[in-house]
Symmetry: C2
Subunit: 197 residues, 2 copies
């Protein structure tokens, strides 16, 4: 395009940094904001600046927070003997919604993914080992996703924690509640069979 | 989520103002920026602010520009007797890439869409009528999209311009170059038949 639209081009390029946003989506977003939602553009600009300057990692559980220690970690009514390891804050929320877990969390903010250059250092495994070895934690529950990368991450963490003498458990695999066997994939049924109780 | 993540929640809400971004995408974007791309967050914040403050509508063709009159409208080598009406700057770019048009443009920045509350006033038809009636324009080429809304928009503009004594043409409909009839939809073939030359 022409030289008179430098800041439009810059905006489109910046929007492409968002995950899942390509050239077409970015230009659609830019035109939408400039044409119909200048207030939204201003709001987003401020929200980005504010979040970027205020949010950092919780010193205990590694999740994103504005405080030194996040709300969950600051809650003294929780059970300090149980530590649940999840990949993301969204996974943590999913577990919290069940109301079935009252221990503390450790949020990896990712998973091991050697092909993407994400190793033990990038997801802060050392910090997790220190957290788990605080003397209070008795059981570490691995709740990483049941994907290839999530399983590999759980395996590496389990090895490291067992070497430190901690009890390590994993969420059970099996048939989802409310589902009919006919529609459940074979791998899940095989796991449900071998883990039967 | 907890009260210690106010600016994270605000960022997620602000990202949802982008077209095509729902709750899940917005939180994925927010976590990505805060976890892996703080530079991108800063860049996007600045780009939004800059674009929002610098970019406005071209006084002649209504497109988005940083100048009073955009580059295309400022080019004296173009043919002032032809004015091509398009819906968006992206449509204008598509026509420019053909190299087949050397007149000026008028960019509606939208289309008539009564159900969405977009009427003649919202897409600045009065400004278009004034632009087309400058005494130099002889022919107005309607290049709105060949969708229901684009066709309706073209129809309304054509009525208005004909009442002002201007020659109004429309891009031809027909079989796309390089396509095989077998795979072209019936509506397109029917138009290609009736508009045969």
């Amino acid at each position: 395009m022409a030289t008179d639209t430098g800041s439009l081009d810059a905006l489109i390029q910046a929007l492409r940094r968002l995950p899942g946003v390509g050239a077409k989506s970015a230009s659609r977003m830019a035109y939408h904001l400039l044409q119909h939602d200048r207030g939204g553009a201003e709001l987003l600009s401020q929200a980005l600046r504010q979040a970027s300057s205020r949010i950092h990692h919780c010193a205990r559980c590694n999740t994103l927070t504005e405080a030194e220690i996040c709300d969950v970690c600051s809650d003294p009514s929780r059970d300090g003997t149980q530590l649940c390891v999840v990949e993301t804050p969204a996974d943590q929320s999913a577990l919290e919604r069940t109301g079935a877990f009252r221990g503390y969390f450790y949020v990896l903010m990712g998973r091991l993914s050697p092909l993407d250059g994400i190793g033990p250092k990038e997801i802060g495994l050392q910090k997790l080992f220190e957290r788990a070895g605080d003397g209070t934690v008795r059981e570490v529950i691995l709740a990483t996703n049941f994907t290839a990368e999530g399983e590999a991450t759980a395996h590496v963490i389990a090895e490291g924690l067992k070497a430190r003498g901690l009890r390590v458990t994993r969420l059970s695999r099996g048939v989802p509640v409310g589902s009919e066997l006919e529609y459940v994939d074979a791998g899940t049924i095989a796991h449900a069979l071998s883990d039967r109780r």
